[in-house]
Symmetry: C2
Subunit: 194 residues, 2 copies
Amino acid sequence: MSSDRISAQMDFLTTADQLKSVSRATTLADGSRSENSAEHSWHVALYALVLGEHAPEGVNTDRVIRMLLLHDLVEIDAGDAPIFGEHDAAALAEQESAAAERLFGLLPGDQGRALRALWDEFEGNVTPDAQFAKALDRFQPPNQNLASGGGSWISYDVQYDTLVARVGSKIAHGAPMLWDWLQPRVAAFFERMR
Amino acid sequence: MSSDRISAQMDFLTTADQLKSVSRATTLADGSRSENSAEHSWHVALYALVLGEHAPEGVNTDRVIRMLLLHDLVEIDAGDAPIFGEHDAAALAEQESAAAERLFGLLPGDQGRALRALWDEFEGNVTPDAQFAKALDRFQPPNQNLASGGGSWISYDVQYDTLVARVGSKIAHGAPMLWDWLQPRVAAFFERMR
């Protein structure tokens, strides 16, 4: 019955509300507080909407937007793992997979499987859509840090080479035009900080 | 040049960050604090992704998601006008229109015009896509209020008839199946509150 279906979907959507209480390492552009994962998800989806024209050929911007709306939901159970922090990658992958099982499992079966597949595709980072989505997810925090005067680069004592290795490489891979734009700006920032 | 284009787009996206600091009347589902307009925008876009199957025929869910990602940006300049509050509708429309002019004006001309047209379509509430988007924007807060035990209904001393007139009518118009699901739940809540 469609009413039972809506009830299951509303369980999922009301549980998803908890993403608004998951705090990230990145701050708002004005540096006033940490960003949470729900507003970050909105921001990167808006990035996709606006910057989709710079994606490599064959990328479907609407699929990328859908991926980015979902990409952090697992943090409701698994928390946010800051990119410059230390964590056990295998343990984290297991926690996130269990979270995906529980959260997408709240939805009607067919829909839960479809959205889980979209999240798996994002995590897999193999298809052009996933690579562009992942690139945007990596591209937003450096722009927040440039705006706020350093942000998580300062709090995690990040060096330029580490940034290029952990973040730049992913952006260059999925969205080369955006890395071409960002790289000189980031290099100039770290040059000034020396 | 594509680099100038990206610079203009990044001006827009970094300005958009300010939506994370616009506070709404509705709270989180756990009642712990007010929701902000950026995380609300993420939440309603996720509503569209999940509930799009219940839209009237002909609605394009991906266009609806794009509308909802943009729909509150004008609040950066004009603020959020709570639906149960009192405000001068003509003055507010003028402030929001000036905000749209400024904000979409940060983008490259062709893109700014296209996104402004999408926002105008949402505000116009005439096309099926806009009516479904508007219905979801009205459907999320009552669900937050049901989860938190009253939320903005309590703080604004809202009566059931007012809720049906200001909110229910819009939901019923753009997403009749969702109003059929919500109406008995809301009615039962107000019955218990008597």
